[in-house]
Symmetry: C2
């Protein structure tokens, strides 16, 4: 429990490594409080700045969370949500379940959805590309944040061409049984195919705040394009998902 000047690692690294070991072995279990900056500085004979750099390293790795005024604590792992390609099954819609609802209930997870915005907005370049309209064309957006086990997990925006959703429950807070996809089918758009794209990146400060992300937690940006039987794009879905809470799973046959 001290700094070895002969060690090629820097003092901050040595302190971080020792604390990481203690977390790994369970000597510091999830939820446990770490020594304060001042305590660490004194114990290891370094300046507070160096002690802080050591803990910041662990925070960036997602092992430690800070609560200003209270202390630093070993992170309690957040539950993982599996996201599978069978979540769009028609039998689920027929059973009155929206895709997100089905995922959560399958996993036995308490969940809710919070509507952030229902509005007509101009299409940005990506939205315009997929909905096959000119950039700037007014489109309908449904912006929401989903929660699982009392923690936010996803910022999800669905975009539609106006003529597709005008007068439907997709423009209401509650889209009704089966969710938005069920309403689209009622409008005559039989849903036949999906394309999903996943990108990996760091969150913006805003996203980090909205998703309660610990420092150093990446996000996945999921794009989903929903095609009707005629090959038309009927929905463009863009979601930012907490990287520490999701596993994405896909099954497919070996194509011929």
């Amino acid at each position: 429990m001290s700094i070895n000047p002969a060690d090629p690692r820097t003092p901050a690294e040595q302190i971080a490594d020792q604390l990481r070991d203690q977390i790994g072995t369970g000597a510091l279990p999830p939820g446990a409080r770490l020594p304060s900056e001042r305590q660490l500085a004194e114990r290891y004979g370094v300046s507070t700045t160096t002690a802080v750099r050591a803990i910041e390293r662990l925070r960036d790795e997602g092992l430690v969370v800070s609560r200003p005024g209270a202390g630093r604590f070993v992170r309690v792992p957040r539950q993982l949500v599996r996201v599978g390609s069978d979540r769009y099954a028609r039998w689920r819609r027929d059973a009155g379940k929206a895709p997100f609802q089905a995922e959560m209930e399958d996993a036995g997870i308490e969940w809710r959805q919070e509507i952030l915005e229902l509005a007509e907005v101009p299409a940005d370049d990506v939205v315009a590309h997929w909905l096959n309209v000119e950039p700037g064309t007014p489109v309908w957006v449904r912006r929401r944040r989903t929660w699982a086990e009392g923690e936010p997990t996803q910022l999800a925006d669905s975009f539609y061409r106006l003529e597709v959703v005008s007068g439907t429950a997709i423009q209401q807070e509650n889209t009704g049984p089966g969710g938005g996809h069920a309403r689209l089918e009622e409008q005559g758009y039989r849903i036949s195919r999906f394309r999903e794209e996943i990108r990996v990146r760091m969150p913006s400060a805003q996203e980090s705040h909205d998703l309660h992300l610990a420092g150093g937690t990446p996000v996945a940006e999921l794009h989903r394009i929903t095609y009707s039987e005629s090959g038309e794009v009927v929905e463009f879905f863009r979601s930012v998902m907490a990287g520490d809470r999701h596993i994405f799973g896909y099954e497919f046959e070996a194509p011929e």
Copy 2:
């Protein structure tokens, strides 16, 4: 170009925001050199420590890379590689192409593969689970690093039960035309189904080094399970991929 004490943002934030704007507008184009720590500290009237914290923020966002002794530079964006679910098509194998090779050549990207290890190793828990053996059982591993456009993009490990690959070219450096999957089919395992799982996380220090990742770049961990016609798992593939270089794409029909 100065600090406003009335601004609720901290000095380091203000400096970071101004530099980020200059990068965003192109005033500091990719490859441009940023002012040095000392120059920034003097210009803004802050300590060098504060100037460094400002630049570190940009580095963590992946906007800036450091070259010790030389300076800090606006990052030159790395090219994205699309990874699609049709890359396992049988017609590609018949054309003598391995999946990775097909992806790269479709995108017109110069690529190569570097073999890191070909060996018999004990199965860890995850490998054992998917290959349906006891943890610790010896399995065959093929560890490699793939490069695109002169930059590493992927650390890829393929695991096989010993009886599946013994005596085949999968144990050699060069697996031959069509890659490992073609050799498995020759052994009588007709490949019929895949499952892929994607996790998002920060890299370890080792991975960060091996993939030449800039600070603050997350990775995707891809697991692929390959099933034969009889439902048996014939390969478990685990890969760590640079988050800033890949887009994962999947297409699927609306399940019934």
